[in-house]
Amino acid sequence: MSAAAPWTVESVRAALLAKKISARELATEFYGRIERRNPELNAYLTFSPERAYAQADRIDLSVARGENLPPLAGVPMAIKDVISTRGVRTTCASKILENYVPAYDATAVERLERAGAVLLGKTNCDEFAMGGSNENSAYGPVHNPVALDRVPGGSSGGSAAAVAAGLAVAALGTDTGGSIRQPASFCGVPGLMPTYGRVSRYGLVAFASSLDKIGPLAENVADAAAIMSVIAGHDENDSTSAAIAVPDYASETRRPVQGLRIGVPEDYFAEGIDAEVKEKVESGIELLERLGCKRIPLHMPHTDFATAVYYVLATAEASSNLARYDGVRYGLRVPGATLTEMYRNTRENGFGAEVKRRIMLGTYVLSSGYYDAYYLRAQSVRTLVARDFAGAFKKADVIVTPTAPTAAFGLGEKIADPLQMYLADIYTVTGSLAGVPGISVPCGKNRTGLPIGMQIFGPHFAEGRVLQVARAFEEAGGFGL
């Protein structure tokens, strides 16, 4: 087994069956890598070796008995710290949950473990998933493994960095406005945001309930598909989870792409995009054309308004969802003479600046006198953004855009101006609002070696098609363009 070749779901399985390595040895190998590299990356916040090794031993026993192995047997994975893990500290990268240990697993976690995955630990992220750089963590920023002075992206920066640095074979992240796709782009790995409702949100600490999704980051597209097959599907515990059958992603992913119509919206290639990003993504689209896809020019007129819509709706929902952190039932409590003082002290001390900013913005747009002008108006524009996508998918099978306007920026570069940070989301929030699935795939690097990402959107519940195009792109060498 080549030391340089990264482990994949398939190669782990093959090695276990051939008895070249045990699940326990593999977990130990990964913990060794983590010990060496995590200090400089800060990708992980909490480790779960007891749980990981217990699972690994179960897998090894199955191997010894010649039993059929579940689909993700022995695969070392990391879980973003906004996703609940029973018995394993879950902080949401906030001080307000510094010592919170959930009494239950998120459905996605439960499904991964039932499928044999070895859960190594919890990854760092922006606090309560609010951010685009992983600089908003109460536990220090994550450093991009490709260049340590650069951000990994956010909010799933820890998950993206862990996968990119080989500190996990794959990871779960979450995406509300771009938080899987953008860090995937900045770190040079594939990352998929599923359709809203495709994966249960039970156990995902809520940020924006109409926008949050759990999804995979992996080293290759087939692994992302394998994880989706495990975590997708209706869940009684999540009333917003879709009662729609989960297709066979593995076989859908392997379909040929000849004849597929690639919608290219001019609105994503206008002002603000870095020239090298534009160049690489253009090359990516040309590669898809050489594979037999047909380019369809599109105009999606509300693209430019999506960021404003997002920062009204997501913050409004967040202000409601984060009202529960009041020191009463769990998490940090800072005492006060009265109940109200206790609330104020707890939240003042427990929340970071970005979280407070978003809570205030959300409270403002929902408040009496402003509700119609901001919140209701934004909801109507959301309908228009969704219609842009519905209209586009009448003419095209997938939509291809850059994932982010730039490659990874420097740590500290955008932290002073929140609006500048928000504007880095412009290409991802559109699909978030429409609830469509979208993947970011690596699409070459810029001249200083920083990864660039290409985004592929599909219609609702067409993850298979999105993965199919991504896989064809990968196999044709697109990642290394």
Partner: protein, 105 residues
């Protein structure tokens, strides 16, 4: 100015955030900038456009036959979590969460 200091204080009170005076000034400036950006939404004609509260219920591609898949029958299901939940609380005295007095005579 899109937002005044008084409004920031009002919002902070609504959101139960005990901000310091420096924070009030900082957020005032930042929120002002953000609200200025959000104002671009005013350019759009939204007459006859339904507000979208929920993606799936907008009928955007879902082929779910059940009109209300989010509902279930009102039947009792076991829920045995009280002890675990109270164990994680800052100050619990089963079956209560203890907090500062609300009603004073």
């Amino acid at each position: 100015m899109k937002i005044s200091r008084e409004e920031v204080l009002r919002i902070a009170e609504l959101a139960h955030l005990g901000l310091s005076p420096e924070e009030v000034d900082m957020y005032c400036g930042q929120l002002d900038g953000i609200l200025g950006y959000i104002d671009k939404l005013k350019q759009i004609d939204i007459s006859n456009v339904e507000p979208m509260a929920q993606v799936l219920h907008a009928g955007a591609g879902s082929d779910v036959k059940d009109a209300h898949p989010e509902l279930r029958d009102d039947t009792l299901l076991p829920c045995d979590i009280a002890d675990a939940v109270l164990a994680a609380a800052p100050d619990a005295e089963k079956p209560f969460f203890r907090v500062p007095k609300v009603i004073t005579r």
